[in-house]
Symmetry: C2
Subunit: 404 residues, 2 copies
């Protein structure tokens, strides 16, 4: 029996991925670029065990057994085993070759609630592929396999600032993630996740982007004519740590992604009234200061991701608290990195026209860029017990408070 | 003294105009196409008087004197007078030449409340230009002058189905409205205006489209790559009276216009939560029947314009009443053409998932395609009295109930 436990991060795209040119291989219509969030606040943990006594491959997600036969899961398992065999070929019978014939048990859990609406599939597939690679002793490029689990998972294979180069080949071999800058590059950068109260379920991103590819003329035009230039601009802004350029482009690209959703038929709305209010607040806040001090980005849901720099974070959180005061149900409103209360300058509140929306934001997670997947050295973090079955700890069942 | 009174209609674009390639001449980035609404429900009335004793040109809008020196108003006055002189040149001294030297008094009023958020400038400028042309005896093509008052006004110069051909010339001489089909072509077509409760003022369309032209990459791509094909498809759908094609394209083009607003920086939101609910309702209603029985279109505001055919109108109004029941303040909820209450089929309400939003729609105006501007033969409708000053009747001050 061999067992490995690893963790992997969530990432937030600032140049958005929306639409595949090849569905089974998960090849995107355009390149994209993301910031990897710190695992101290948001991470997936995965334990994989291989044992000669296991009779079948099995998987548990957040404490509940799930279907191992999902095509994307099978793609990842098949591809990583194929790579392990290939890289081991010629080296004869060894430990890895032996466990390659064993069945695996996989147990995976997030330290953040699924209800937060954060795309957990990226961290989940990145963690799965990274952990299997450690199990089988596979080194090197793995983002191409993670991509086949969930497109954006390839970007969670690196820390810091990561681009997913769309590639040109039909077999997808050149559609890979690349490190742009590591997480240490821009230490002042802070990220707030404003978890919005969602009143209903949303169109899944897989289904949504399929409909967009089939029906939105603007999606194709965006992919061909707009994104290539924006990728270059974004990489330059990050390398120069130019927040003005980074923030503006992040907002423009989030808006353009949601524009293609609206151009989809029937249209898809991910931005709700709370999202629109956050957008208005950010623009008025920046207008007050005459420069881009905060920037928003929205994925396939109403939660706002806010980028800002350390000197601004306390003040902006204060503004968010004034605008979207919590329902007084006693739950913590601020989670993650510590925030100091800040005095607001005379005139700022009037300038941003606080139109109070109590409960519109359920809570705020404060985080920063962080590293890529890592192998755990602490056996107490393993999600599988000695019997190869999930432990019944809060870690396995997905703690709601683990990031506080 | 000579005095003329005319009326002109509102139009609703089904292929949208958004963005000018030339601001002063009001030349659009793309062609557009609209349906002219019937004046029995919505119209502007304008009286123009010319008198040797008037000392200056003056204008009153809905009973209040306004600034005659606005550039667009001056453009229309100058152009129509120039045209009158040109067409009269050589015919010597006559009645028209004499009144061309007189100052004019202009009085204009809508029979619908400005609060309804219906673009009144199209009807207003169409009416002004048409009335001045009658005053000066100018015949023939006038849409190029109306265009210089307000772009979409050129389409209100004709009844029925009207295209505004963008043209190619730098001087704009070929940027004109053309009749596609008269109002008698598709007698079954009905139009509902769902006047939404607006919680705040919106970005004006003039300012909004300027920002879009400057900042939205998708607007340019739409104008160049999408609209030309859609114009052909729309004209074909109208000529064939193919509601499936007409309705789908109407919805897609409305959505794409709002997508370009979202792609504008900072983004412009004209669709609010009520608009989004109407969109969802229409798609679920059509899904229930397996075909496009109703279609929505939204301009620069949250009001929904619904297109449908006569056999569907009673039932769909019933559904709207269930979804958006009126606040019980006694105001009439249905205005315009008569509506019969209709029994709803078993299963329909469940299929459209009525998520009741009381007061979301303030009232509904029921109308149909109608004719272009007409000259009044009834002196009692004149808005100016014998003294050349506005009468103080409800007509002049803009009655809220005139369309009921």
């Amino acid at each position: 029996m061999k067992q490995v436990t690893c963790t992997a991060p969530v990432n937030i795209a600032v140049i958005k991925y929306w639409g595949k040119r090849n569905e089974p291989l998960i090849l995107p219509m355009n390149s994209s670029l993301s910031v990897t969030l710190h695992q101290d606040q948001l991470k997936t943990t995965t334990t994989v065990a291989a044992n000669r006594n296991f009779t079948e491959d099995r998987i548990w997600l957040n404490g509940k057994e799930d279907n191992i036969n999902q095509p994307r899961l099978q793609s990842c398992l098949r591809e990583i085993r194929r790579l392990a065999r290939k890289r081991r070929s010629g080296s004869g019978e060894d430990g890895v070759s032996r466990i390659l014939n064993y069945k695996v048990h996989i147990c995976s859990a997030n330290n953040f609630p699924t209800a937060a609406g954060l795309a957990s599939s990226a961290a989940g597939y990145a963690c799965l592929v990274f952990t299997l690679a450690k199990l089988y002793g596979v080194e090197g490029e793995l983002s191409g396999i993670a991509r086949q689990g969930s497109g954006s998972a390839c970007r969670s294979m690196y820390g810091g600032f990561v681009q997913w180069v769309m590639g040109e080949r039909e077999d997808g071999k050149d559609s890979l993630a690349e490190l742009v800058e590591p997480e240490t590059h821009w230490p002042e950068l802070r990220i707030l996740i404003l978890v919005a109260s969602a009143e209903k379920k949303h169109v899944s991103s897989t289904a949504g982007m399929q409909t967009s590819v089939q029906t939105s003329p603007l999606l194709k035009l965006r992919a061909e004519s707009v994104v290539p230039g924006r990728m270059n601009e974004m990489i330059e802004a990050i390398k120069k740590k130019d927040f003005e350029a980074f923030g503006q482009l992040t907002m423009k690209d989030s808006n353009q992604f949601h524009a293609t959703c609206l151009d989809t038929y029937p249209p898809i709305f991910y931005l709700n009234q709370v999202s629109q209010r956050v957008i208005g607040l950010v623009h008025r806040y920046n207008a007050y200061y005459g420069r881009t001090k905060v920037a928003y980005s929205f994925d396939a849901g109403p939660n706002a991701v806010i980028f800002t720099l350390e000197p601004t974070v306390n003040e902006f959180v204060e503004v968010v608290k004034r605008f979207f005061p919590p329902e007084s149900n006693g739950d913590p409103y601020l989670k993650g990195l510590p925030i100091q209360s800040a005095p607001l300058p005379q005139g700022l509140l009037a300038a941003v026209e606080p139109d109070v929306c109590r409960g519109g934001v359920r809570y705020v997670i404060v985080t920063q860029p962080g590293p890529g997947p890592v192998e755990s050295q602490d056996p107490s973090l393993d999600l599988l017990g000695p019997d190869g079955l999930p432990k019944t700890t809060p870690e396995v069942t997905g703690s709601q408070e683990a990031f506080s």
